[in-house]
Point group: C2
Chain length 244, copies 2
Amino acid sequence: MSPEENPVPVTGPAKKKQLSREIILSAALALVDSDGLDALTMRRLGQELGRDPMGLYRYAENRAALLDGVSELVLNELAIFPDDPDWQAQLRRIAHDLREIALRHPNVVPLLVTRPLSTPLGLRPLGTLRPLEQILSLLIDAGFAPADALHVYRAYYGYLYGHILNELQEFIVDPEENEALLRLGLHRLPPKDFPRLRALAPVLADYDGEAELDQGISILLSGLAARLSPPAGSANAALTGKLI
Amino acid sequence: MSPEENPVPVTGPAKKKQLSREIILSAALALVDSDGLDALTMRRLGQELGRDPMGLYRYAENRAALLDGVSELVLNELAIFPDDPDWQAQLRRIAHDLREIALRHPNVVPLLVTRPLSTPLGLRPLGTLRPLEQILSLLIDAGFAPADALHVYRAYYGYLYGHILNELQEFIVDPEENEALLRLGLHRLPPKDFPRLRALAPVLADYDGEAELDQGISILLSGLAARLSPPAGSANAALTGKLI
DNA sequence: GCGTAGAGTCTACATCGTAGAGAAGTTGTT
DNA sequence: AACAACTTCTCTACGATGTAGACTCTACGC
């Protein structure tokens, strides 16, 4: 019972080391992953770090900035090699990687999709713009005119995000149930108004997102390559050649 | 100064008519359109209607249900004619219509995209599922096998949503500025790290979303038609024929 | 020692969603 | 007309949230 009883309370993991932006953002991401976006409150995050919530404001201007930081952190998991000469293969790989990142952090996807809507391009977190810059680089180096590279990027990334949203929507699964009708709650739909949807229950149930993404990307890439100035490289001669 | 001074305060438009779900949702949509999603609070909405905020709970279980109602209301602006024999034309028109709806209600787009992520298919507001059902119907009637219809729907709707998100992201415009670099805030990007993006400023500036959507849809539809069981109808023989 | 700067904390406030009790208004029965 | 059974609307109150502003603590150069 000395007055110096607990200068170091040994309470849990954190020993009151200096806080840092990385530590905070990792904790935030962990919180979002496990308990959802709404669980990411300043107070809760502070508690998770064993710190006063107000301390966080030294590392993130406000809650929105925290959310941006989490987006950035997740997007940093995406590796892009802008020097790969085979642009189609590279784009295909990126698509699959991003899909898997999304599946790993489903609760972050609304952020990825929504935050840019309220921030002009140039004010976005830089980490968020890196994929755009690097993919442009990839395409331009592959022979596309810059403006065409932008078109390709837009179609490609648009479809990619759309697919991810689609797949996550159907991923809401109650693992207890394995009857598709029940698992997706389709039995609540009036059969009169939704005959098609209800009839598709079994197909909906075994959705192979990876295959579907791959197929969509194939369609898009070959279509784009055929329609825009085809790059000069040789890695894609087979595909473009076939369509000209 | 009689005690019965103002039993009817004649304050503004509403004369205390009966409330209704439609009235509430319209007011909510108007509020979101003009002041953004965050402005849609129970208190603010109540004030807009000249009513006590608590009254709203008789027509919407909670705020989330209100948001769902707004999504539904907006999606109801979308007309679909599932009996059109020319499925490609129909899908193309729907895409353009939905794009315009999104441009009309940009603040609602996050809802359209995000809400389904937290609600299993069968529990979503029915109005939200109507497009899905009707497009399935359109495709099946056009000759697609049900499972293929679903694939087509997914690729199509995925791309469509992706495009809308893309376009809205770049639509953040400060109408005072018309230099693209400034308007999009691109001047804040370090030239070292983002040479490609900065060089594309003028191209970014005159983004023709409608044309780009149309082109993407063309690529997708013809690709899909070529890859899946082509429908029996004649309206699309030209396109599918060309690719086989 | 002692001052200075940065990091961390405390207190306080406006605002939010919403539970629960009650008031007011409407309708049907006698 | 009087009452009862409703639906609809309002009031009050509570806990939670983001964050401003003042305070305390710690480390370090002189």
